[in-house]
Symmetry: C2
Subunit: 189 residues, 2 copies
């Protein structure tokens, strides 16, 4: 953020008084510009023992399979955001949406909030950013072609939880990097 979004003047980096981190501060209007992690909201939609997967039509990870998910927008709740993404990416309507998993991705300043829901009427259809949609039983999931470790982790937990019909909400940290390998570490276990 080299320029001030309030007045357009150049910013410099320094620690504001009473703060303990460097921030971008405007040299003209003294506005302090904070940068914080963004939320990605997504949903695992279930229909008669199968889950809805989308093949990504955009980068990153184009052609790989994912759960409907995207950035939370201003003015919406977490669940509203997850339902909106399901509609936009897969024309899928969420019923009985429930919180299912949180993932902190500190390395890239993101927090994923995943829900689970029933797919209304079993209907889905590729949205603009999706190449195709598919309802997959556990054995049909393309495990080697999933877009992100969070997608694999959510699906793995979901199919395990189905066996016990107990769906605990998990809080996990995603550690490492694509180059060095990524690990999903669940908290409190």
């Amino acid at each position: 953020m080299p320029f001030c979004s309030s007045c357009g003047a150049a910013t410099t980096q320094s620690v504001p008084e009473g703060d303990n981190r460097p921030r971008q501060i405007c040299g003209r209007c003294n506005c302090v510009h904070y940068e914080n992690p963004k939320n990605v909201v997504g949903c695992l939609l279930e229909w008669q023992g199968k889950v809805l997967l989308c093949r990504r039509g955009i980068e990153p990870r184009k052609n790989f399979w994912t759960l409907p998910a995207g950035f939370l927008e201003n003015g919406e709740t977490l669940a509203e955001g997850a339902a909106r993404e399901s509609l936009e990416e897969a024309n899928a309507v969420c019923e009985g949406i429930q919180l299912y998993g949180l993932y902190s991705l500190a390395r890239i300043n993101q927090v994923y909030v995943m829900f689970r829901a029933t797919l209304a009427d079993g209907f889905c259809e590729a949205g603009d950013e999706t190449l195709e949609v598919q309802l997959c039983a556990e054995a049909e999931v393309p495990w080697d072609e999933l877009a992100f470790p969070i997608v694999a982790d959510t699906l793995r937990h979901y199919f395990n939880d189905c066996r016990t019909q107990h769906f605990p909400i998990r809080n996990s940290d995603v550690q490492g990097s694509p180059a060095g390998g990524i690990t999903v570490v669940q908290q409190g276990v």
Copy 2:
């Protein structure tokens, strides 16, 4: 965001191609500036049946009582942020930190993520932005002097959950406004 943080030129509001919401777009470099909700992370710290409350030393709600909480910073996980806020506001060390509650505040573009933890050694002391700290049993909580509805909701659930020793993770939406009255609506109940 009237000016572009990348190049300093003026922005205008319009819907980018392939998008469905108005964004601030730079008239010179065409950079699209997204604005998204921010996360506030906090912690309920427990010590021998009492919980740690902080009397706020800064606005908003100066002099009112709250749980340690603040904005999640880039580069940290949700739990790390909640532990850092506990340390900064109350010199309190979290042990066995666990996810406890999510709150969407769509009206002000915030998401609260609340944890619970044991206060290590029972030690706490007011930090820079805190006037005083206090360990309160349920009957000692200043219910009429709490800073935010989320604080009251978290405390109320905590003391109820203590009776059953079952601490479910709740996802709630905070609706309404200070002027018209605020309601905390729990999802999936």
